[in-house]
């Protein structure tokens, strides 16, 4: 089958994405629970190479791809964190890197955190966390489908949303839209 990439971009590229000359940045503002969580994180993850920061009201924990299962295991099982609910697992394509975000929430403690990791787009391998939360299963299959991130150790990485034999990764920025003009 033909993928949209093979179709010629005949027209000159239009500037469709308009930005402000100087882009303002949304400020980080942690609430009480977030601050308390950010304070204990360095202790909990003392043995691992992680960076702690904040984005809007979420605590962000950046980890190396190979450390992700260990980080997630601690996040779920450490009683101080108790992240029993994987809210969402999403992949964002920043062109020079693919970012995998694990949004976590603790149903009892009601605090939240994001674990982030980045991989190069041509060797996008992240170990699976489907052994930590069973719910990660389909999210990882979706991430593999749409972005081509290979979750190593996942029991079944077959296409989920796309059909068998689909070529390309439609979530990526390099996967073009069909060309048509709105009148």
């Amino acid at each position: 089958m033909t993928t949209p990439q093979e179709k010629k971009p005949a027209k000159p590229e239009r500037a469709t994405h308009r930005r402000e000359p100087e882009v303002p940045v949304a400020p980080a503002a942690l609430d009480e629970r977030g601050k308390a969580l950010a304070a204990i994180l360095p202790q909990v993850f003392s043995g691992l190479d992680v960076q702690i920061s904040a984005a809007m009201d979420e605590v962000v924990l950046a980890a190396k791809p190979q450390d992700v299962p260990a980080v997630c295991r601690i996040a779920k099982e450490d009683p101080r964190l108790d992240f029993d609910y994987l809210r969402c697992l999403s992949v964002v394509d920043y062109i020079e890197r693919l970012e995998v975000d694990y949004h976590l929430f603790s149903l009892d403690k009601r605090h939240k955190m994001v674990v982030k990791t980045s991989v190069p787009p041509d060797a996008a391998n992240v170990p699976t966390v489907s052994g930590v939360w069973r719910g990660a299963d389909w999210y990882e299959r979706e991430g593999h489908d749409l972005f081509g991130v290979v979750f190593d150790g996942h029991p079944n990485l077959r296409p989920l949303l796309l059909y068998e034999g689909f070529e390309g990764h439609p979530g990526r920025k390099s996967f073009l839209f069909h060309e048509y003009d709105e009148w």
Binding site: R19, V23, M56, D84, C88, L161
Partner: protein
């Protein structure tokens, strides 16, 4: 024996395929196949501006459209740091709770069909029709409303709204009781649903289930309470929680939720005061650079939007965390060792909307 259920099957609630491995009448293994309705909504969001995207969110959860719109608008508002006027929040809350009742009414009717009862769908649709007619008066559309805006709502309520909504809540109160009496304690219905498709609390959490599916398993979790958004902290309402996590609990929690939603609507109508309905926003919204994750409680559970902006007039990435998607995963667990005759009952009790599962 391997049995293929769907994709075209009247009781799969959309286009959904389920492959079952059977040993006699028992299900040994089940494998769901989704993606038949995949439209690439998340990718489409990257080429539309913020006002246009609202129509795409209408079409994700297509029986609770307003709840979807709300989640997206809240994500953009969070990035922009907008203060939404009070009246706009009251309008949103009333409409979203009405939408929750409409959605649960559809579930009620269809679930009756799934268990072999013909009458509930007529009752469910009768009540739903009342709500949809009011929506038409307010938003101009029965289903794809395109009504909630970044920073407020499209237009103010019609003059006779309070009168109409008061009449509607009275009618719905009676309607819900009628529906409840018709099906809930029916001997046949109990036999089909009690103890069928159980899932315990820890497993449901592990699968990421939310909404009625999680609450039926005894976990008291509702985004409106655990992370209150908008004006939900001004209302008093209960969170119904089940104990067995079986199909009947999942069904009855929804009936109970309709009563709670009615109470929220009544409180909101009393508290609502005239005022502006739209915050000051530029005609073409350009949120600052950053990422926002917003959770809302849709009729099916935790409907969340992860919005990444690079400061442009179009989002850089939109990820929709659809409650049905996570809830549907747990069906492999619920179906294990169940009877083949219960497969459709279990599937129906999750109340999936394939529009948001496949996106």
């Amino acid at each position: 024996m391997m049995l293929n259920l769907g994709p075209q099957h009247p009781s799969t609630h959309g286009v959904f395929r389920l492959v079952l491995w059977l040993d006699g009448e028992r299900i040994v293994r089940a494998e769901p196949h989704i993606g038949y309705l995949h439209r690439g909504s998340e990718k489409l969001c990257e080429r539309e501006d913020y006002t246009q995207i609202i129509t795409l969110f209408d079409r994700l959860d297509y029986v609770a459209n307003l709840n979807g719109e709300l989640a997206f608008c809240m994500a953009a508002e969070k990035l922009m740091g907008l203060e939404v006027p009070d009246r706009a929040w009251y309008v949103r809350s009333i409409l979203c709770e009405l939408n929750r009742i409409a959605s649960h009414m559809l579930f009620y009717g269809v679930y009756g069909l799934d268990t072999g009862a013909m009458t509930p769908i007529l009752y469910g649709f009768r009540e739903r029709e009342r709500i949809v007619l009011l929506f038409e008066a307010v938003t101009g559309a029965r289903m794809m409303h395109n009504f909630i805006r970044v920073g407020g709502v499209k237009q103010d309520l019609p003059e006779d709204f309070v009168q109409r909504v008061n009449k509607l809540t009275d009618e719905l109160k009676r309607g819900i009781e009628e529906c409840d009496q018709l099906l809930t304690n029916s001997e046949l219905f109990l036999a089909r649903t009690k103890g069928v498709g159980s899932i315990d609390g820890p497993t449901a959490r592990d699968y990421g289930c939310t909404g009625p599916v999680l609450r039926a398993s005894g976990v008291k979790e509702d985004v409106r309470v655990s992370e209150p958004y908008g004006i939900y902290d001004r209302f008093e309402f209960g969170i119904p929680v089940g104990s067995n996590g079986d199909c009947w609990d999942r069904y009855y929690i929804r009936v109970e939720e309709m009563r709670q939603s009615l109470s929220i609507i009544e409180q909101a109508v009393k508290q609502m005061e005239p005022g502006p309905i739209q915050a000051k926003v530029r005609r073409i919204a350009r949120p600052p650079k950053g990422e926002a994750y917003v959770r809302t409680e849709s009729p099916r559970g935790d409907f969340a939007v992860f919005l990444v902006s690079d400061g442009g007039d179009k989002p850089y990435r939109v990820k929709v965390r659809a409650p049905s998607f996570a809830n549907l995963q747990s069906i492999t667990h619920m179906l294990r060792d169940a009877y083949i005759a219960d497969a459709v009952v279990i599937l129906g009790s999750i109340d999936i909307i394939l529009g948001e599962v496949d996106r």
